[in-house]
Amino acid sequence: MSNNDALVSASHLAKKFGDFTAVGGIDVDVRRGEAFGFLGPNGAGKSSTMRMIACVSPRTGGDLRVLGMDPDRQGPRIRARIGVVPQGDILDGELTVRQNLEVYGRYFGLPRAHVRAKATELLEFAQLTEKADAEVEALSGGMKRRLTIARSLVNDPELLLLDEPTTGLDPQARHLLWERLFRLKQRGATLIITTHYMDEAEQLCDRLVVMDHGLIVAEGAPNELIRNYSTREVLELRFPPAEHDGQQNTAEHPPTDQLKDLADRIEILPDRVLLYTEDGEAALNAAHDRDIRPVSSLVRRSSLEDVFLRLTGRSLVD
């Protein structure tokens, strides 16, 4: 199972809190230089897994090696060589941007002069040079996030853990952040990313696992997963809300059997029907021929969202 090239290697890794099983025994290998993702809804066990890899939460079952070492016995040595971007920004709000980088760098036992030079370099990288002497409290959400990422790089980590790196950011801030992470990837950094955004997973991850209820339900490259678990295209049909039952906003779908043979597979969601097919336009034309009149229709490529729906019967973002 574990190979020597793996920066992270987990087998039957489990985490229980009392009776609650957060992670139910997973096998994962992350190789040097790759961007690896944990995709799943809130509560799937992604963050618990990340905390175990970050050596701040001891495992309760299975085996785990990070950089070839056991977190239970060599936590500090591992933490010295990894970078962590936690879910929420943990910054010293009453210090300046630069001080945040310098103080944090010192925690890694790095010399003062080195930390000072590193801070200058990281400010540049995070596009915060002009804010160097501003108090952190006054920064925007996107800037704080960039500072958190810059801070996690202060020890030149061999492995960078990013827990929901762009949750809560506006689209512009997200794209800027993705661009910075791309740069890190190009420099050869190994990234582990958790996310419940499929676009983020598709953009950043070379390989990912889909998690649900503390277990891995699929593993592969994004396009591989889409190929294996979905069709090339998806036809989305929206129907008006049902008139006959006044209690809920459920769409009034035409009889399922009228649609069934138009696609390889169909999914009925509260507000729309998804038809999985190799040719979406053809399926739409066929539907029109049968006098099926949706309020709106959309033909698109399959995404990881569809993979997740297929695997778990639920959508990612509730």
Binding site: F17, A54, V56, S57, P58, G75, P76, R77, R79, A80, R81, V84, P86, G88, I90, L91, D92, G93, E94, L95, Q99, E102, V103, Y104, R106, Y107, F108, G109, L110, H114, A117, K118, T120, E121, N155, D156, P157, E158
Partner: protein, 267 residues
Amino acid sequence: MATIETGRVVSPLRASMLVVEGHWTWYKRNWKATAVSSVGLPILYLLAMGLGFGSQVRPSAMTGGLTYLQYLTPALIAMAATQTGAGEATFPVLSGFKWDKHFIGVSATPITPVQVADAQFLWITFRLVISCGVFLAVAAAIGAVTSPMVLLSLVFGILTGLAFAAPVVAFAASVKGEGNAFNPFFRFVLVPMTLFAGTFFPVSSLPAVIRPIAWITPLWHGTELARAAEFGTLRPWPAIGHLAYLLALIVVGIGLSRWRFRVRLAS
């Protein structure tokens, strides 16, 4: 461009000192806000009680023939220490876990939860030295000090502050809510202790049934030591007893705090 250098594991004491260095960076920017309660308040006591109220108190056997201001000064060093200790041991500790999450940030680095806890005590000690030292300087300037032995009172005062803070840090590290639990602590522990643990009048003038409550407070033991040190009335056996009590609170409190930090930072 800076060179590439990954982190390293340093000795436990050095690791804690690095955390203290982080506190110091913060303190250099924000010390003024802390000065009001940790230095200002005891000085107000010194002026109001020592000079003001003290002008109505005739030197007597109780004050060892000294003015009330002089009688009060070593005791107020110990009291100032418990005030600063209580301040540093409550909200800043809870905040480290809950609001600014400073401790959680540090625990992602090579520094361990136990080292974070130890750093908190090093920092509190530093704060005690500063606030008690400044207080003593002010007291000396207004002629409230009788002997250089008051420097020993300063040491005892700092030990008193630590002895009071140590169990409180463990308590603060266990508080889950918004820190409302600190209010009863301030009201029913800190304030009564400040008033009745022998700072302003001897515990022997309290009703006999209440005296044992004063005796269990670290402030009473610290006050006894601080006064005896400055006034040259230190006797070995009582001094050893008082010291042992303060040291026991420090040792037990730090042990409990390390445990609570470990539970909260590595779960």
